[in-house]
Amino acid sequence: MRNILVLQQHSPFNSSHGREALDLALALAAVEHNVSVLFRGDAVYQLLSTNDHADFKLKAYSRSFKLFSLYDIEQVYVCAASLGERGLKPEQLAFAAEPLAQNAIVDLLAAQHQVVTC
């Protein structure tokens, strides 16, 4: 078992990065790795709620973040500075990731065997 961090860096719908990062995190957790997920940069937008809209055809995959606990992924974090830069507050997030300051992110990275950037 390895400590593996999936680092989410992309906004939710401009590319498939976020969607495929979710698939990867779940696959890693399914074989008993100790998986953490960190949302930073524009990836913090993945944590906002999504509305159904007839004109928008992409899958609202972020609703599947609720699967994290089913897969025993308990360490889901969001970069506090990235939220602040975008005028967002932790209580606005649809998925309650734990905000981390920069020094805590340094500690998180140092604790990993592997980091996958998506």
């Binding site: 078992m1 390895r2 495929e20 698939d23 990867l24 890693l28 074989v31 592997q114 998506c118």
Partner: protein
């Protein structure tokens, strides 16, 4: 000696990624390290399209990498779901010879047997 895994998430004809991968694995093997696997995910699966047709004066790095991996017994894998979503492979259209279809589960399991993961 280090046992490496490589995760490729970017690149196709439009960028340098696969050429960098080939340089890395060549240097690593020469220095006595072991490459456990190379796994292509996300847009990196564009590299395995069998219909890639390059002018004769441009090397096809996808094929060069496959040849290197065959010579050195390196598992060269691609995420079959990512490839099918992009229409790169199907039952009628297999990948370039040497690239083996795999699932994310195989990538996940292989993480337990490597020392370092390097991502391109």
């Amino acid at each position: 000696m280090t046992r490496f895994g490589l995760l490729i998430t970017s690149g196709s004809y439009s960028c340098q990624t696969l050429s960098s991968v080939l340089s890395f694995v060549t240097a690593a093997v020469k220095a006595g390290h072991i490459i456990d696997h190379i796994f292509l995910y996300q847009d990196a699966v564009y590299n395995i399209a069998a219909d890639i047709d390059l002018p004769s004066d441009e090397p096809n790095v996808s094929i060069l990498l496959a040849q290197f991996c065959q010579q050195h017994d390196i598992a060269l894998l691609f995420c079959v779901t990512a490839a099918e979503k992009r229409g790169i492979t199907s039952a009628k259209r297999p990948a370039i010879n040497g690239y083996v279809a795999a699932g994310l589960a195989e990538f996940a399991m292989r993480q337990a047997q490597i020392d370092k993961l390097v991502q391109f």
